[in-house]
């Protein structure tokens, strides 16, 4: 207790140091004057210091003094301080912003309670059949490993508002799932146990914003009712009463990519659980084993070669796609920060060599090694602290401004929303830790250059005229070598991305998307229970659309998306694999696809007419290399269903130019069949128009006139111009390219600066040596070559090490590049040439200056 009081007093003294010192001074003054022989009073300053030392915390005072000294030094050499702070702050901005993005996606927990224990249940690998009967899995028996299981289903809901229907995403939520995901209603009540009982009144939670846009009504939806049915199930409409209001922008944690969900209703039938929260401390492997055993026990059928259930972390499922890109960017930002630090180390080293005289004087006056170290550390801390503060402020602003753009560039909303891309505790801690580490490392740098010089020696003008001692020269060169290597690694990475983007942009999709807009058409299961009922609707829609002048087309597939391939049986030839696409007769003209042989589809290719097909150029060449494809017969062989429009034998009537679904689509074997011969429940409707808004209004009215239940959907895929969607496909690579190029340019600039600084310093140090060489007959060229040789050595070693670094970066980018070999020599060569060239030019300037000096002037200092 008394100890604590003593500490408090100590701090109080420290804070009011000036006042107490003054009191002490006056007191001693009074004492002295009262004495008979004031001269016997000792040295007042010394006595004051002794008394003051009793207050303790002397080290704090020492640091304060060193900080003040450092601040004074900075004011004296503002150029140096400014250069260091600005480059370091820039480095911090790059590194912090990138880390904040990496943090938002890869590190931060999903915004759900205990989200690190949320797992997606994979009953079978993607595209492989799952065991049947899994909805009977009893998770109460697995309570030792699984805490909660979620079997919610995301479905499309057709909500009747009296006019043309618009469907919306609806989550049929299993009991307890809303609690598991920590979703709270903002008004009304949450779903209760009774809501999940069969026969109870149907209730729903809704998003008020959606309610307003759907029903055009203001005010709270609480207590109101609506009628709705599922789009893909033949069920009668039911009445739902709104019991609660969802939080804004509600998304289902298992399907974050599917966007916002405006309606939540209770799921009353057992369904398969795809989402679980494990008990704390349960290893994933153990849970997988238990789940697999349970699945084997209850399965009604198990596919051949089934490898059991796998659990995938919830966040991993969401971010797997952006992980390689963010890893590459994070690594690049780290390399940039390293370059910045090395560059600053070079600057500090050079500066401390210039300050050797001052340091020697300090040594002579009794400053120990630790005092000198503290002095340098204070300077490094001040520089780093200033740079960090500026860096954080700027990063904060930059992120606040760019977060939405970053999300759209990455093509994936941040799990915690755009606000999550910002500076949180993790980022602050990482940035502060990083800058502290840098400051500590930088404090030791000048020691590397320190030789325990005698005062007299360093007071002599320029020492003995040598180029500094050997070891410090090697330190300088080693640092610059690191800079060169880091820049080369970044340049190589940026070069790969530039070529990737050039390749992608240069890829011809084979279709012209100009002014084409699209929407999804969906026929509800309730009114269109089977395939035979689809045709008549589309016939009437096509009839009405044909009366307008706007070109249109229908297709059964989502454009710009690589569809899975199917096996094609070919009459009289080997089977082939290819994509199967149903298109209406306007499709080929609308998209400007070229017909190479035979004909395109026309109005004659209807249901009931001869089954026909068109094949792509690649498929035609591969299947019938020596003869024309036209007239040959082909059909799909996957899961043959007798009489299905997809499995009948079709006669090839034409060959069209290859089309790519995406820029990286390499399989160009496609087979087209007439949409009229294979109409589907879901279709894409394309219009080529300059006035999409008014045209869509017309189309909606037309569809509503035929059947108001049919969905011409506005939300997915959005009714945007296809051109825009195509360019969005390239946003990711473009983003990676521009960030890497920016990083690389900054690093290159810094390393050229470093080379220049070291060369200029060497030229200055070796002034006398150069003068002597010239006096004994060396030409200016000889002198310039002397300096170039040294830089060339640094550059050469840097390029060698950098090539290894570049290989690492290329390895990280492997999945992100297209049309370039990651480890091709050419990918390293151009950056290497660039950096060596820039480095030599940076050496040339100081070298020429040194060679241009008259030996008389240079040696003047040593002449008596």
């Amino acid at each position: 207790m008394t100890k604590l009081a003593e500490w408090m007093r100590q701090i109080w003294y420290l804070l009011n140091r000036r006042r107490f010192e003054e009191a002490l001074r006056l007191e001693m003054e009074a004492h002295r004057e009262s004495m008979a022989q004031p001269k016997r009073f000792g040295n007042p300053l010394h006595l004051r210091e002794q008394s003051r030392d009793v207050w303790g915390l002397v080290w704090l005072d020492d640091w304060r003094r060193d900080f003040r000294l450092a601040a004074r030094q900075m004011r004296r050499a503002p150029g140096f301080a400014l250069t260091v702070i600005v480059t370091l702050a820039l480095g911090f901005v790059l590194a912090t912003s990138t880390f904040a993005v990496v943090n938002a996606y890869l590190i931060r927990a999903l915004p759900y309670p205990e989200s690190d224990r949320l797992y997606h249940v994979r009953y079978a690998p993607q595209g492989r059949p799952e065991p049947r009967g899994m909805s009977r899995m009893d998770f109460r028996e697995l309570a030792d490993v699984v805490e909660l299981a979620d079997s919610s289903l995301l479905t499309r809901f057709l909500v009747n508002n009296g006019a043309a229907g618009r469907d919306a995403q609806c989550l049929m939520v299993s009991q307890g799932s809303m609690e598991m995901l920590g979703v709270r209603v903002v008004a009304g009540r949450p779903l209760e146990l009774a809501d999940f009982q069969a026969g109870a009144e149907q209730v729903a939670l809704v998003d008020p914003v959606w309610w307003k846009s759907h029903f055009g009504e203001d005010g709270s939806p609480l207590g109101r009712t609506f009628r709705a049915s599922r789009l893909n199930i033949a069920e009668p409409e039911e009445t739902y009463r709104v019991a609660g209001v969802l939080p804004p922008e509600f998304r289902y944690a298992r399907e974050l990519r599917r966007g916002t969900v405006p309606i939540v209703i209770p799921l009353r039938v057992p369904a398969q659980s795809y989402f679980v929260r494990l008990q704390g401390g349960v290893p994933v492997e153990a849970a997988e084993k238990r789940l697999t055993e349970a699945a084997r026990r209850i399965a009604t059928s198990i596919p051949a070669q089934w490898n059991g259930i796998r659990l995938e972390p919830a966040r991993e499922r969401f971010i797997a796609e952006v992980r390689p890109m963010l890893t590459a960017m994070g690594t690049a930002a780290g390399i940039v920060l390293l370059t910045v630090c090395v560059n600053i180390a070079v600057l500090m080293l050079l500066r401390s060599m210039r300050r050797q005289k001052e340091i020697a004087v300090r040594h002579a006056l009794g400053a120990g090694r630790s005092q000198i170290l503290r002095m340098v550390a204070a300077e490094a801390l001040l520089l780093c602290g200033g740079a960090l503060a500026i860096g954080l402020i700027v990063s904060r602003a930059v992120l606040g401004w760019l977060a939405p753009a970053i999300e759209s560039q990455l093509g994936l909303a941040a799990p915690g929303g755009a606000e999550a891309i910002g500076l949180d505790g993790t980022v602050y801690a990482a940035a502060a830790g990083c800058s502290l580490l840098i400051a500590v490392l930088l404090s030791f740098v000048p020691l590397l250059a320190q030789r325990q010089e005698r005062l007299a020696e360093s007071m002599q003008a320029g020492g003995r005229g040598g180029a500094g001692n050997e070891s410090s020269r090697w330190v300088r060169y080693a640092l610059v070598t690191v800079e060169v290597a880091a820049s080369l690694a970044l340049l190589a990475g940026s070069g790969l991305m530039i070529r990737t983007v050039m390749n992608l942009v240069g890829t011809d999709l084979g279709m012209s998307m100009e002014n084409v807009v699209r929407a999804r058409v969906a026929l509800p299961m309730r009114t269109y229970p089977e395939a035979a009922t689809f045709g008549p609707f589309y016939e009437r829609l096509v009839y009405r659309l044909s009366n307008e002048r706007t070109p249109f087309a229908l297709a059964n597939f989502i454009l710009l998306y690589e569809a899975p391939k199917q096996t094609m049986e070919v009459e009289g030839a080997a089977a082939q694999r290819g994509g199967l696409l149903a298109i209406s007769d306007g499709f080929i003209e609308l998209f400007g696809m070229k017909v190479f042989a035979g004909r395109g589809f026309d109005a004659g290719d209807r249901a009931g007419s001869e089954p026909v097909a068109i094949v792509s150029e690649s498929l035609a060449r591969r299947t019938w290399p020596n003869s024309s494809a036209v007239g040959k017969r082909i059909r799909t062989a996957d899961q043959p269903v007798p009489d299905s429009p997809l499995t009948v034998w079709r006669t090839v009537v034409g060959v069209v130019r290859d089309v790519r679904q995406t820029h990286t689509d390499l399989d160009l074997n496609d087979i087209y069949i007439p949409f009229a011969q294979a109409p589907s429940r879901y279709a894409q409707l394309f219009l080529k128009t300059g006035k999409p808004v008014s045209e869509w209004k017309k189309v909606e009215a037309m569809a509503a006139a035929i059947d108001p239940q049919v969905q011409i959907s506005s939300d997915f895929p959005a009714r945007t111009a296809l051109e825009h969607e195509v360019s969005k496909l390239l946003a990711g690579p473009r983003f990676l390219m521009s960030s890497l190029t920016g990083f690389a340019a900054f690093a290159l600039f810094l390393s050229v600066l470093g080379i220049y600084g070291v060369a200029a310093f060497a030229a200055h140090q070796r002034e006398k040596e150069v003068a002597i060489r010239m006096a004994v007959g060396a030409s200016r060229g000889d002198i310039v070559r002397l300096f170039l040789r040294e830089s060339a050595l640094v550059l050469g070693v840097g390029v060698l090490i950098g090539s290894a670094g570049a290989a690492v970066v290329a390895g990280l980018l492997r999945t992100q590049i297209f049309g370039v070999q990651p480890f091709a020599i050419s990918a390293f060569l151009a950056p290497a040439v660039l950096i060596v060239g820039a480095g030599l030019v940076a050496t040339l300037l100081p070298a020429q200056k040194a060679a241009g000096k008259s030996p008389l002037v240079a040696l003047h200092g040593e002449c008596p």
Binding site: R9, A23, L24, V54
Partner: protein, 109 residues
């Protein structure tokens, strides 16, 4: 470096506390009083007095307040606190015990 003042080590605090225990005194007066009371046998040098006073202030055994000296100067006077009284008591006891022990050894040996 404190000058030689003929004081057994560790006793300065006790002496200061003892003289300010009777009434508040300023620094010079403390030195004077110790010197006078010891018939000028003990002299407290400034180099020891002020650090010791600062130490006592920090420990909270004395407190300082501004005052006017007999000669009309503004000075700082030191006054013993309750905590200081307790400390003085403890130190005196310890000192007396040790003193007795030492005397016993010196007399008997």
């Amino acid at each position: 470096m404190p000058r030689e003042d003929g004081l057994p080590p560790g006793t300065l605090n006790m002496l200061i506390l003892r003289v300010v225990a009777s009434r508040p005194l300023h620094g010079y007066a403390i030195a004077q009083r110790i010197s006078a009371l010891s018939s000028e046998e003990l002299s407290v040098e400034e180099g020891s007095l002020y650090p010791a006073l600062q130490k006592l202030l920090l420990k909270g055994w004395v407190k300082a307040f501004p005052a006017i000296s007999e000669t009309g100067r503004s000075v700082r006077e030191y006054q013993i606190t309750a905590l200081g009284k307790k400390a003085l008591e403890a130190e005196l006891n310890a000192y007396r015990r040790v003193n007795l022990a030492i005397n016993a050894v010196l007399d008997m040996a």
